[in-house]
């Protein structure tokens, strides 16, 4: 392999890895405030992108994306109000089953609302044939948008959780919900807020990747599985871990193509997931003591 090829795989891996990282962060935000893994996280990306594509024919692109995000956030809030708050026996098993059911329903409703065809947003800058040369490797300008927007989202989320009152309250809920409630934090609203945030970043990620990867009604499931792998790899609930995990999985996947048949690409990510769960359930960056206390 020449240097250019290595660089090419690396760039492709980073681009796809940063999408995985955003999905994983979406998982983490909801997991931290509720203890639920939201299996419908992948569908947020799909709904965001599909809505934006529909509106992009009527209004300018940034507005269409904003509408996509707004609709997805509405779906997220609806999920919380109708399902999560109403759950009678909120055991982990029941929560898993409910969110799996939700992901199926969102997907199938999308099939009936839109149709089975693929759609995509226009490229934000440039078009399908523009290509940027970086030290001999080539990359689409949209890939830079993906990287830029993902990085911005991560920075803003960090600022939000560290410095804003609401962000701090959400962190308090995740550390100890009872104590948080005693301090006067409305934990239920924080749960809603976590759905809002995670739907919003999911929808934005869905929009920014749509020109490259295209969007179809059933594209959410495989993203959710990848995102979950990344979340576990980085340690459930750990956002820095999610970013590093996302990049690792993305880059490994791309390099695996150079030595193995492509058909087994997905199996590799999943094999990593199984190994991590068996041997280091706290993930690469999670603390073992903390994870022992949490109910997975």
């Amino acid at each position: 392999m020449t240097f250019e090829h290595v660089l090419q795989y690396l760039l492709a891996g980073i681009t796809i890895g940063s999408i995985y990282a955003i999905v994983a962060i979406g998982f983490n935000i909801i997991y931290n405030t509720t203890g639920i893994i939201n299996f419908a996280q992948g569908e947020f990306l799909m709904v965001g992108a599909m809505t934006a594509v529909t509106f992009s024919r009527l209004v300018p692109l940034p507005l269409a994306i904003a509408i996509g995000i707004a609709v997805t956030v509405a779906v997220g809030v609806l999920i919380d109000f109708v399902f999560i708050r109403n759950l009678k026996k909120p055991t982990v098993l029941n929560m898993i089953i409910v969110t799996i059911g939700l992901s199926i329903i969102i997907r199938e409703v999308a099939l009936h609302v839109w149709d089975e065809k693929v759609r995509s947003l226009p490229y934000f800058t440039g078009d399908e044939i523009s290509s940027i040369n970086i030290l001999g490797a080539y990359i689409s300008p949209q890939a830079l948008w993906v990287l830029g927007i993902c990085a911005t989202m991560v920075v803003l989320l960090n600022v939000f959780f560290k410095y804003s009152v609401m962000g701090r309250s959400m962190r308090a809920c995740s550390a100890n919900p009872v104590a948080a409630r005693l301090c006067g934090i409305n934990t239920k609203n924080m749960v809603t807020m976590s759905f809002v945030l995670s739907a919003a970043i999911g929808a934005l990620a869905g929009c920014v990747m749509s020109p490259i990867t295209q969007t179809q009604y059933d594209c959410g499931t495989s993203l959710a599985i990848k995102g979950f792998t990344v979340a576990i790899l980085g340690g459930l609930g750990n956002s820095t871990g999610a970013i590093i995990g996302g990049l690792i999985v993305g880059i490994l996947e791309e390099f695996s193509i150079s030595v193995m048949p492509l058909a087994y690409k997905d199996a590799i990510a999943i094999a990593i997931l199984l190994l991590i769960m068996f041997f280091r359930p706290s993930g690469l960056f999670g603390k073992q003591e903390v994870s022992a206390l949490k109910e997975f």
């Binding site: 893994i37 399902f83 109403n86 759950l87 009678k88 026996k89 982990v92 098993l93 029941n94 898993i96 089953i97 409910v98 799996i100 059911g101 939700l102 992901s103 199926i104 329903i105 997907r107 199938e108 409703v109 009936h112 499931t221 599985i225 979950f228 576990i232 459930l236 048949p261 058909a263 087994y264 997905d266 199996a267 999943i270 094999a271 997931l273 199984l274 769960m277 068996f278 359930p281 109910e295 997975f296």
Partner: protein
């Protein structure tokens, strides 16, 4: 040995026979085809219901075991091998036991989300393997699987002429499985399982080998699924990758949830009814949506399943309020 515990099994046999007579007398014996297919799926479901309900272990990967059974039978009885179906059944069960055992040891140490996700991942890997491997026919699956001659004159095959025999073969298997499970649940093992579901730590402290019991049930339910797969593959004459898909596994979990965890009768009834409706195409293009909706409604309102007294009470109070409203209007 308690005779009373077999009364429901006796009723089951009576219902099965009565149904067969009824459809033949009314000239609708084609209905038996879908009932036979549903019965083989019900084998997966009752096995899973014991795993989920009594041992408390979710598995979103049981379609994988069904596929392992079905594909083993299909590969060994067609193409280059052409082994006897009896031999291939034995091989299928053996392979399933080994895989379930090996995968069960690490997977069953996990809990909650991790357990769900690990079983799901196992399912996805099996799906990827059957989809990506030439021997398994890749996306097309395997066709022209021969019938399975159990005894001379008694063959598991899809022809219209042998519809009635096949209906009884399938239900014989289901009844056998049910009796086996009833015995299991009412035995020492059953009590141990219930203690695991209650509190695994407490059970462990009392000296119950929880890991061993969980593994045994996991393997048993996997074998049920594999046997269902073997027979259905011979019955329909083929198998495709969709049998290993995640949606199939989720569907099995949904049906167990509707029937009520730890309720093999509920699982059996719902397994037959829902599979039957789906196989007859009543849900049209809303097939998957229906199962998704079921999962949510059951978890929100009937976490213990739909076949229980509370549902009846709901319906009764509903009827009462309706009657009251109609009277009031008058």
């Amino acid at each position: 040995m308690n005779i009373r515990q077999y009364i429901p099994a006796g009723i089951l046999v009576a219902v099965v026979v009565a149904f067969q007579l009824a459809v033949v007398l009314t000239g609708q014996d084609y209905l038996l085809t879908q009932l036979t297919m549903s019965a083989y799926y019900a084998l997966v479901i009752i096995g899973l219901s014991v795993l989920m309900g009594y041992a408390g272990q979710i598995s979103i990967g049981h379609a994988a075991f069904f596929a392992i059974g079905g594909y083993t039978a299909a590969v060994l009885t067609t193409g280059a091998f052409r082994l006897s179906p009896w031999l291939s059944l034995a091989v299928a069960v053996a392979i399933t036991v080994v895989i379930a055992f090996l995968i069960g040891i690490p997977i069953l140490k996990l809990k909650g989300h991790y357990l769900a996700m690990a079983t799901l991942s196992f399912g996805v890997i099996v799906y990827r393997i059957v989809l990506g491997t030439g021997v398994f026919g890749e996306a097309d699956g395997i066709s022209d699987v021969p019938g399975f001659t159990l005894l001379p004159g008694l063959t598991v095959t899809g022809g219209a002429a042998s519809r009635v025999e096949n209906y009884y073969i399938a239900w014989f298997l289901v009844t056998l499985a049910i009796i086996l499970l009833i015995n299991l649940i009412n035995s020492r093992v059953g009590r141990a399982l219930r203690s695991i579901h209650g509190s695994e730590e407490a059970a462990n402290a009392m000296g119950v080998n929880t890991a061993g019991y969980k593994l045994a049930i996991f393997v048993l339910s996997a074998v049920f699924a594999a046997v269902g797969g073997v027979f259905l593959t011979h019955y329909t004459g083929g198998i495709g990758p969709s049998e290993a898909g995640v949606m199939k596994s989720v569907r099995y979990v949904a049906i167990v949830a509707v029937g009520g965890m730890a309720n093999i009768w509920g699982a059996l009834v719902m397994g037959i009814v829902l599979n039957y409706l789906s196989l007859r195409g009543y849900f049209g293009t809303y097939d998957d949506i229906f199962f998704g909706a079921i999962l949510i409604i059951i978890m929100l309102f009937y976490p213990d399943g739909i076949l229980q007294r509370k549902t009846l009470d709901d319906l009764r109070s509903l009827a009462r309020s309706l009657v009251a409203r109609i009277r009031g209007r008058r």
